[in-house]
Amino acid sequence: MSGGAFEHLKALIVEDNPHMRELLCSLLRAIGITAVHEATDGDGAFRLMRETQPDLILTDLSMTPVDGLAFVREVRHSSDSPNPYIPIIMVTGHTERHRIEAARDAGVTEVLAKPIAASNLFQRIAEIVQRPRSFVKCAGYFGPDRRRQSGGGYTGPYRRREDSDDIAIR
């Protein structure tokens, strides 16, 4: 059943709580991902990412000395990053609005609130598989498009100064 599609994927889990790390690891193995690497903070995670070249990252937010936000920024912006486009799921107990916005602005692909439910984790992975998002590069941000809706049905009026026809698409 499971396994076939995911068996060649490599995942990186960045989580300082050993119980949560083990749980996430087991859940990824339940869908067939066998190559799961583990780190306990952002600094170790970035080094491990360069060594192991994962395809998917699950990271916590609060860790010391380097937290999940700094790690995500490094993955997205560093010239040493092996894959700035890698899907990143931030798994966090922080449900305060300002922290979720900070995660979004750092460039996470999906946010998964703790407590962990397997169905929610699998739903986030399915979203990445089924609806990969465009990336946006602009002054002050590089990461997945933060808008979930295309706005395609909007016919105007276009009153903002920055509304422009010359958006670069490649």
Binding site: A5, H19, I31, G93, E96, P115
Partner: protein, 159 residues
């Protein structure tokens, strides 16, 4: 002049899975067999997770007694993350409310109210240490405490 944003479409970077494997992957993620396997994984870890929650509760009690609010917040934050998965949903809800309260106070540079802190610590402790989830009446307590925190934060906002 500001450079316009550049959009990089999904076709122009490496996807998580190649197109020919996506259908099978989605089927696996949504299958009842996968979910059953995942539920078994979680069930096997419940006892260890409960033990971890109890350790964190002890740490949180000590940090609140010594007035180390950032450390108390960190412990409550860990509790809210683990408790629900350990089958202690009310404990997680109460810890979540406590985190919201401490986060707002710490960001405002204000001192937490001792009575509100004690109510939360007592409720988290009792809820986490009672064996029978239905005997805890935890959800009712969580609702009451959430209302109390909302009222107190509104008072703080309105001066």
């Amino acid at each position: 002049m500001t450079k316009p944003p550049e959009f990089i479409a999904p076709e122009n970077y490496k996807p998580l899975l190649p197109k020919n494997q996506q259908k099978a992957a989605l089927a696996a993620l949504r299958s009842s067999a996968t979910l059953a396997k995942a539920s078994r994984v979680i069930a096997q870890k419940t006892a260890a997770l409960r033990g971890a929650v109890l350790d964190l509760v002890t740490q949180m009690e000590a940090f609140t007694k010594s007035g180390d609010w950032p450390a108390a917040f960190a412990a409550a934050h860990e509790i809210r993350g683990l408790a629900g998965t350990a089958g202690l949903s009310a404990t997680g809800r109460i810890a979540n409310g406590f985190c919201h309260y401490l986060d707002a106070l710490l960001r405002a540079g204000a001192q937490p109210d001792a009575a509100i802190v004690q109510l939360h610590v007592d409720a988290i402790t009792r809820s986490a240490r009672t064996e029978d989830e239905t005997a805890r009446h935890g959800d009712a307590v969580a609702d009451e405490l959430a209302a109390l925190v909302a009222r107190r934060l509104a008072e703080l906002r309105n001066g």
